[in-house]
């Protein structure tokens, strides 16, 4: 704009009193251009434009997300662990056939996690995946409220769980929408004194009789086959289709001989679009149950639970635990604009000691509203506000879709 004023001013100073200098329009235009030629300067982006150009030209986002090498790790810890930051290193080897990834993360509440993954070369035209995983987790103040649907919020305690899990996974992608596979692993947990200063440690309130696994922890060998039917349009931000998944795990206590059990999980979700997918009714139901061998018990830390951002949002994470769990979610989602979907949701669920007691008569419920910032294919930020659980308003910020 300044330049335009200068150019015009220059042209004006030449045209009037000495208008004879330009007797034609062409001369006037030529003079204006000559004026501008005296004050040329290269374009220099500033501020946000300069920063964004730097990010694009240096491919910063690509480097942080997909490229081989070091990358920042921010997630992978349970809800409530506080702000976490870590670092990882990943590398494709053998002409991208082999993929190795190691990472560690530490949170403000001293939650620690270290993970190492190795993906072996793909087989059968990329349809068979083989993975090996090693995980070390040290979570010092996990919440525990006691077992059962009637557990009281006033009994909130914390416990420390430190575990290592070495496993292998094989996945067969039979069709685009059908896959099955299995996990085989060795899981070694250690339960300790919870460090949350606001609440007592679990063993100060509960006994090992009430809460199996509190006193002693075995080493498990586990084997879990699964099958998955996934016909969602975009798994990261589904608007149509559905997802069905079932797994059946066998857990063997190899050291104490007290904790052999099976665990079954099944989940079904479906998405009903209207108005060209600008409105979606999404429903999900999930059931889990564990079944101990006769005379054995199921450790509390592997029991199914409800409560938290992925199940019953009006309640805290891990709020209700027991051997059997059922929860259902219904969401009405609508597009506010192309980068934001909103949702009204209703959750219901319960946990029970015995599967026969699971029903629809005494469900815990909650409801709320959600804001989902998204691209067409992925939700990258989710903010849900839930209530109705008579335990206050719960707010969740997540970096993935609800379901």
């Amino acid at each position: 704009m300044l330049r335009l004023v200068l150019v015009i001013a220059g042209a004006l100073s030449l045209t009037p009193g000495n208008a004879q200098a330009q007797e034609t329009r062409a001369e006037l235009l030529a003079e204006m251009r000559e004026q501008k030629a005296r004050s040329l300067e290269p374009y220099k982006p500033k501020g946000a434009e300069k920063a964004l150009l730097y990010v694009e030209q240096k491919r910063i986002i690509e480097r942080l997300t997909v490229a081989d090498g070091f990358y920042p790790r921010t997630g992978g810890l349970p809800s409530g662990s506080g702000f976490a930051m870590g670092v990882g290193y990943r590398k494709h080897l053998l002409n991208e056939g082999l993929f190795a990834n190691v990472s560690g993360v530490l949170s403000m509440k001293t939650y620690k996690a270290f993970d190492a993954q190795l993906r072996l070369p793909l087989l059968w035209r990329d349809r068979i995946e083989l993975w090996t995983n090693f995980r070390y987790h040290d979570f010092p103040e996990e919440d525990f409220f006691g077992l059962g649907n009637g557990s009281s919020v006033s009994n909130r305690t914390s416990y420390k769980i430190r575990s290592t899990d070495s496993s292998a996974r094989a996945v067969v992608n039979v069709l685009r929408w059908l896959r099955f596979g299995a996990d085989l692993g060795r899981y070694k947990p250690e339960i300790g004194h919870g460090t949350d200063p606001r609440f007592p440690s679990a063993e100060e309130i509960f006994t090992d009789v009430e809460v199996p696994g509190l006193a002693a922890q075995p080493t498990f060998v586990h084997y879990t086959p699964f099958v998955e039917v996934d016909y969602r349009d975009y798994p990261g931000n589904a608007r149509s289709g559905g997802l069905w998944r079932a797994s059946f795990g066998t857990w063997k206590d190899r050291t104490l001989g007290q904790f052999d059990f099976h665990r079954f999980d099944a989940q079904a979700a479906h998405y009903f679009p209207i108005f060209d997918k600008k409105r979606v009714f999404a429903v999900r139901a999930s059931v889990s149950y564990v079944n101990n061998e006769k005379g054995d018990r199921v450790p509390f830390y592997v029991m199914p639970y409800i409560g938290g951002s992925d199940s019953l949002r009006g309640f805290r994470e891990f709020r209700f635990r027991d051997e059997n769990a059922l929860f259902m979610n219904a969401e009405y989602r609508w597009e506010a604009f192309s980068g934001l979907d909103m949702a009204l949701f209703f959750d219901a669920g319960e946990v029970r000691r015995d599967w026969e007691d699971i029903g629809f008569g005494n469900l815990k419920t909650s409801y709320g509203v959600g804001f989902r910032f998204n691209t067409y294919k992925n939700v990258f930020l989710r903010f849900d506000v839930a209530m109705g659980g008579h335990e206050g308003v719960r707010k969740f910020t997540k970096f993935s879709s609800a379901f």
Binding site: A9, L12, R25, A26, K36, E41, A336, F337
Partner: protein
Amino acid sequence: MKFTRWFVALVFAAGAVSSRGATPKFFPDDPIAADVETQDASGVAVQDLSDPYDFLENTFMNPADTANIRAENVNTLDEVPDSSWFTNRILARPMSVDEIVRGSVTGGAPKGPWLVVGAKTEGITPGMTVRDARNDVYFIKFDPPSNPEMATGAEVVTTPVFHALGYNVPENYLATIRREDLRIDPTTLLHREITGQRTPMTEEDLTTLLAKAARNPDGSYRVVASKAVEGKPLGPFRYYSTRSDDPNDIFSHEHRRELRAMRVFAAWLNHDDSRSINSLDTLVRRDGRALVKHHLIDFGSTLGSGSTQAQKPRAGNEYLWEARPTFLTMLTLGFYVRPWIKVRYPDMPSVGRFEGAFFSAEQWKPEYPNPAFGNARADDLFWAARRVAAFSDDAIRAVVKTGQFSDPRAEIYIGDVIILRRDKAARCWLNATNPVIDFAMERDGTMTFRNASADLRFGPAAQEYRVAWARFDNNTGEATAVGQPSVVHTPRAQAPRELQSASYIRASVTSHHAEQPNWVHPVYVFFRHTNTGWRTVGLERIVDRLGLAGDPRLGTRGRATRTDESRPEPRSAISANLESSRTQGLTPF
């Protein structure tokens, strides 16, 4: 510092204005047909554009000068002179259907085998750069597997239309390639998404790339081969301000007629991606000088195509971000349903989402606000509408035929919709102002003209025209009324006898019809007395406030710093002087 520079500039400008004497409104060479770029631009550097910043800037900051002023680069007849931006083609001269269809094509179609010298395998849009047997460079674009023929068809149909309209566009060819026609240049490097490194392209990369493209039943691929445009690429141009390192770029882009008026063309052909990223400046040589030539590129997101998928229903109907519908939808829990969501489209994959029944030329919008489009006034839109209306049904159907759609229904449908949208655009904008054109004056003072809207049957014949005459002083810009205004019922009026001795005549013409309220805006037409009779040298359409409706940027947060004489607003003495001087002929035109 910034204030000091502005102060100096304004003082300089004020001094220039106050010291000047009378300046002619019309120079002897007016109206000029070409804006000759006289400076050497060899010092122009490559400019990068941040696509996200472009979106943010244009959506939330509005970087342009939103003054309600006449386009700055029009000549005294309100037309756009030829330049490095624009070449007068349709309407300015007769164009045969064959010429329109041929478009920018100057040579033959590319010939295989093709050497792959560059490729993009990341993301969902595959693309390649190839050299053909003649060593010409082409950018190869494919159709998405979900919509065979859609993106390529849209590109080859739209490109010649924009060429005929006057813009610089690439030579685009529809071609068929086979896997075996492609050879990889050993020096071709690919950026690896995984490693972040650039390594030589492999046959496997080519297979991966082609797997993302629609494939013909015989295994070949239908592509658009877009020939590299002439000159050294300098990056895209912006739709506002000028290029600070180009001495020839003296008109703010948001005040260039051909960029403002492009809103009409973009709406007509649903070019929702009409933004900076789809433009390209190149450095070319003309008459021994380096000049910057300005191109529109990439018409893959036009008609019903969204390039990688069928066009989104929102496209053309709403910006990516708009506060009102967003909050309405939020607050009503989604029970407020945007009208465009309910629009139904035919189930033709090669068409995508394209329709004419719901289309509104007035309400159409690109992906995000385009500052030049936002500045378009009724005179700009009228200028564009005449060009749109100049495309005959035959020309449109012939251009659509070049899309070579295998489904004959698609060809007919696209042709029908383009014709319907043409008619809507023309009817809307030909009647948004006084549509009188083609003024001439005979030796005896008989003035004739035409009504563009009525002649093309987009409006009724005027019930009457009112003409006021004035003697015009070219040096002072003063118009002195002569005689009484006359009322005529045909586009023909007689100048008062007293004006026969005048050097310049100004006629003010208004048109009247009960159904056309916008026709009452006056058109000033200027005639110069010459040895051979009267010559039409000037035309100004006096328009009301901006002609765009439905643009949330207008009237709400625009920086309306200047207005033209049609609507004076309070201004500082300096800016008023500047404005006055601009309207008195000191502006370029």
